[in-house]
């Protein structure tokens, strides 16, 4: 074979393999979604949203307490994590943009962003659960807040950095103090990007299981107390999926479908909000 023919063959082969790799990635996504829909819909009924998790062996029951618990702890996690995250991101982007301390904080934040979530669970166990003496919903919310925070710090900083300096200078020239410039000029200009960050943080923590295993634990009964263990979808899915009861397994798949659907919708909404900012603003 000629040298040219050989090079063309190699090229064709390499490109075919890269297309194959993409196909493999998409097939896995398709396979997972297909299983979720097939097995999740089978258990979907009104009872899922109106009844609490059943005792072993029961043939009825739903996921009401788990859905409630997940919603409450995710909400609390964001309520705790968002203000701190936004303020810290503001410091990094505005006040301390070039300081050495900021460089360190930025690096630490990036490490926290990828740190294993089970470590966060252990940390909150030591910090909150041990002093309190029992597992509780509030400790679960704190664990989720710690996981959400780095995401919010990062997107806030990135989005504030995209606000044109000229706009901020104009505000300063009018005699505004930095806090006024930031809250009245920079925040509104960066709003859609910051909202995206919050949505992605919600998506990230609503499926987290490991940090809840020994903070919020689980609760087979209806409980709204923040000082008591609270049911939540991920841990219920974990326990029910590994159980020998058919009814529990069916509920696990339904829970898995609900949580994945919610997260995918959130991610897509977040992307749509972000795409309005145009190219160059992407930050996951």
């Amino acid at each position: 074979m000629s040298r040219r023919g050989y090079r063309k063959l190699v090229n064709l082969l390499a490109l075919a393999l890269s297309a194959l790799a993409t196909a493999i990635g998409l097939i896995f996504l398709g396979a997972i979604l297909w299983t979720l829909v097939k097995d999740g819909i089978a258990g979907l009924s009104a009872a899922v949203f109106t009844q609490i998790t059943p005792p072993p062996g029961s043939t009825s029951g739903g996921l009401l307490n788990a859905i409630y618990g997940s919603a409450i702890m995710t909400l609390l996690g964001i309520l705790i994590g968002a203000p701190i995250g936004i303020l810290a991101g503001t410091y990094l982007a505005e006040y301390g943009r070039k300081s050495a301390l900021s460089a360190v904080i930025r690096f630490v934040n990036d490490v926290l962003l990828s740190a294993p979530s089970i470590i966060v669970g252990l940390f909150v166990y030591e910090l909150v659960v041990v002093p309190m003496g029992n597992f509780s919903a509030i400790s679960g919310a704190i664990a989720l807040a710690i996981i959400a925070m780095p995401v919010i710090v990062r997107t806030t900083e990135d989005m504030l950095s995209l606000v044109p300096q000229g706009m901020k200078d104009a505000s300063t020239a009018m005699g505004a103090y930095p806090w006024r410039t930031i809250t009245s000029i920079a925040y509104p200009a960066a709003r859609s990007g910051m909202v995206t960050g919050l949505l992605l943080a919600v998506a990230r923590i609503s499926g987290e299981t490991a940090p809840l295993l020994f903070t919020a634990l689980n609760n087979q009964f209806w409980s709204t107390s923040l000082k008591a263990p609270m049911a939540n979808l991920p841990v219920v899915i974990f326990q029910f999926a590994l159980s020998p009861y058919e009814n529990w397994q069916r509920l696990a798949w339904t829970g898995a479908l609900l949580i994945t659907a919610a997260i995918l919708v959130l991610s897509i909404v977040a992307r749509t909000v972000l795409s309005k900012l145009g190219p160059g603003a992407r930050s996951r």
Binding site: S117, I118, E126, I268
Partner: protein
């Protein structure tokens, strides 16, 4: 017109608010720093009883016996390293292929939807990968893939032991595959972002000399983006090492070190997830937290190295996953 007095008052109010706001942002930023310190201190504190009791034996022995209250982490460390290595072996070529496809090959109308689909794979919670791995992937591996591996690869000289054994369906290999599926979106996203930073002029010079698409990728794009590719890969590795739920479902949770990849094993994170709420003695709990310390050290080193590499590229736009 306001009086000088009122103006002074207003100015003072503005100054006060400035101080409060600036102080609050500073405090929040420092809190991020303290968080990492707090994690380190509290984990070391919790792990102290185990470390002082078993000393170096904690990482060199593979006894894990709650009945006699003796704990050694070697089996879990082994499982963590092997499953992550397997994951990288599977994920690297596929991620590279996806990044090449997305940047050089895909027509514009296909680029965006495929890119988004791969990113959605990254958004799926790890527990979903876990139940899917256990109920869908494991049976497939058990019935068709593993028997084939055992009867064909198992006969190879030298490396045969790696591929021998009964097909359980769950074990190191299955965990490696599930981890690979989970890290593919992260690695390919970083690689794609780095590939996109390669200046068109460089690529066009390659094409101008008559290079094929593959030659441009291999001899221009890859050398140019080497640091970013390594950084992205290590970010994926950091994720694989610390991943908990997906692994817990499919690893088999056996405290043992086997030569075979088909055998069940365990990982650091899987042990913590499975046993923490069942730990009956203080030393047991402390040993599990000590496992957490080991995991923290391993992942911190990998993630920090990855971040430093990506940071040195001077572009903070990618790899935030």
């Amino acid at each position: 017109m306001i009086s000088a007095e009122a103006f002074a008052r207003q100015l003072a109010g503005q100054r006060l608010r400035e101080r409060i706001f600036k102080g609050a942002t500073f405090a929040a930023a420092v809190l991020v720093l303290l968080l990492l310190g707090g994690v380190t201190v509290s984990l070391l504190h919790g792990a102290w009883p185990a470390f002082s009791r078993f000393r170096l034996g904690f990482v060199t022995q593979d006894v894990w016996n709650p009945v006699t209250d003796r704990y050694g982490a070697l089996a879990a460390i082994y499982g963590t390293l092997v499953t992550s290595a397997l994951a990288m072996i599977f994920a690297l070529p596929i991620s590279f292929g996806i990044a090449v496809f997305l940047t050089e090959l895909a027509p514009p109308w296909l680029k965006r939807p495929v890119g988004i689909a791969i990113e959605l794979l990254a958004a799926i919670p790890s527990i979903i990968f876990g139940i899917w791995g256990l109920f869908v992937l494991a049976p497939v591996l058990q019935e068709s893939v593993e028997p084939w591996i055992d009867s064909h690869l198992g006969k190879l000289p030298f490396v045969g032991a790696l591929f021998q054994g009964a097909p359980y369906g769950i074990g190191l290999l299955t965990a490696g595959i599930v981890l690979a599926i989970m890290v593919i979106p992260f690695i390919s996203a970083v690689m794609r972002d780095v590939f996109e930073t390669v200046p068109d002029v460089l690529k066009e010079s390659g094409y101008g000399l008559g290079a094929t698409t593959w030659e441009v990728i291999w001899k221009v794009v890859v050398p140019y983006s080497r640091a970013g590719m390594i950084g992205g890969t290590m970010l994926g590795l950091g994720r694989a090492l610390g991943e908990t739920m997906a692994v817990t479902f499919v690893i088999g949770n056996a405290h043992q070190i086997s030569a075979s990849l088909l055998a069940p094993g365990t990982t650091i994170s899987a042990v913590i997830a499975n046993e923490f709420t069942e730990a009956t003695t203080p030393l047991y709990t402390s040993s599990l937290i000590a496992l957490g310390v080991l995991l923290f050290i391993i992942t911190f080193a990998v993630i920090a190295a990855a971040r430093l590499m990506l940071l040195r590229l001077g572009r903070r736009a990618f790899g935030s996953a």
